[in-house]
């Protein structure tokens, strides 16, 4: 009886393992212990982006930023700002184990767009990265109709194995 149960579990687990690994998503490869912070695809480039508490990329253009130099408190309204090289994305093969990945950076904030190379800024950009390739990403912020005060939002960063469609 016990053996049967064990076999059932084995069969089930293997099936589960295969069905998950084949199509697309599993989990990102962690470095060593599970408790470690996963290595990120994206890396901030200062001064407007930095690692918040040494972990996650954060963009902060306000006097609250740890990189605030005591001048230039923010952006003005009804203006458009374009910042080259706010972050870079990377396919570090020793971490991803994939020869080709597709990185998608998506704005989830009004007026915020991203671009790379000489492409037009867009709310969502997809970049194919070969083994150990790096691409710098710039951002455009259009503050039309913004009010005085803090504006905030989020950025979604996704990566898949394989080239972008």
């Amino acid at each position: 009886m016990n053996i049967k149960i064990a076999l059932l579990i084995i069969v089930f687990m293997l099936f589960f393992g295969i069905s998950v690994s084949k199509p697309i998503p599993i989990s990102y490869a962690f470095d060593g212990n599970v408790s470690d912070t996963p290595d990120n695809i994206e890396t901030p480039l200062p001064p407007y982006a930095f690692l918040y508490h040494g972990e996650n990329l954060t963009i902060d253009i306000s006097s609250q930023s740890p990189l605030y130099p005591n001048y230039g408190e923010g952006l003005s309204k009804d203006s458009t700002y374009t910042f080259d090289d706010v972050m870079f994305v990377e396919n570090n093969v020793t971490k991803t184990g994939a020869d080709v990945i597709c990185v998608i950076v998506t704005s989830q904030m009004t007026g915020l767009k991203f671009y790379y190379l000489d492409n037009n800024p867009s709310e969502s950009i997809a970049i194919t990265l070969g083994a150990n390739e790096i691409m710098n990403i710039g951002m455009q912020i259009n503050t039309t109709n913004f009010n005085i005060g803090n504006a905030s939002g989020t950025i979604k960063i996704q990566a898949f194995e394989g080239a972008c469609e």
């Binding site: 016990n2 053996i3 149960i5 064990a6 579990i9 084995i10 687990m13 293997l14 393992g17 690994s21 697309i24 998503p25 599993i26 989990s27 990102y28 490869a29 962690f30 990120n40 695809i41 994206e42 001064p47 407007y48 996650n56 990329l57 954060t58 963009i59 902060d60 253009i61 306000s62 006097s63 609250q64 990189l67 605030y68 130099p69 001048y71 230039g72 408190e73 923010g74 952006l75 003005s76 309204k77 080259d84 989830q108 915020l112 912020i141 503050t143 005085i148 005060g149 803090n150 504006a151 905030s152 939002g153 989020t154 950025i155 979604k156 960063i157 996704q158 990566a159 898949f160 194995e161």
Partner: protein
């Protein structure tokens, strides 16, 4: 028998652990962005009024020579007269407060242009020896810590009485002007 089950589970666990650790398939992260929206005289590229004719309203710079300018004293003139030319030096200044300057000099090339029916010209520096202009579009370099003062020339030749408006467009590009 229980040992067998335990061993089997351990093996499964190891297989899954190895499987999960070796292959990258998908990554997703959400990251924060915060931007302070501030008045023109506090932002990365400041536009700071120097004369009472220049003022900020709702955080935006206005050049306002008229009776409704809140800076106008009770005895202050309410405007300019026809068939005259007025020159105002140092109406406002442009400064470069980009954070990149904190590490290395990071000059910007600024272009200010005035477009509209009203004949307004602008210049950088003193009227006698302007560093740019006078013209309806001027380009000049701004270094951090060295604001550039902008003056105005209002040519009211053949203008009739009334109120006139025009718009100023300001562009800044990284690097000193060529």
């Amino acid at each position: 028998m229980n040992k067998l089950i335990g061993l089997a589970l351990l093996l499964i666990g190891m297989v899954l652990a190895v499987g999960a650790g070796a292959n990258f398939r998908y990554y997703e992260a959400e990251r924060d962005i915060t931007v302070a929206i501030v008045a023109d005289d506090n932002e990365l590229i400041d536009l700071t009024p120097i004369q009472p004719y220049a003022r900020l309203s709702g955080g935006k710079l206005y050049i306002d020579i008229g009776q409704y300018n809140p800076n106008r004293p009770a005895w202050g003139g309410t405007g300019l007269s026809p068939n005259t030319t007025y020159v105002f030096e140092e109406m406002f200044e442009v400064s470069n407060d980009l954070w990149e300057n904190n590490k290395t000099a990071y000059p910007i090339c600024v272009t200010i242009s005035v477009a509209g029916a009203y004949d307004v010209e602008i210049f950088a520096g003193d009227y006698d020896a302007p560093t740019a202009g006078p013209s309806d579009s001027i380009t000049f370099t701004v270094n951090h810590g060295s604001p550039v003062k902008i003056g105005f020339i209002f040519d009211n030749t053949n203008m009739s009485l009334g109120s006139y408006q025009t718009q100023m467009n300001i562009e800044a590009v990284a690097g000193a002007c060529p």
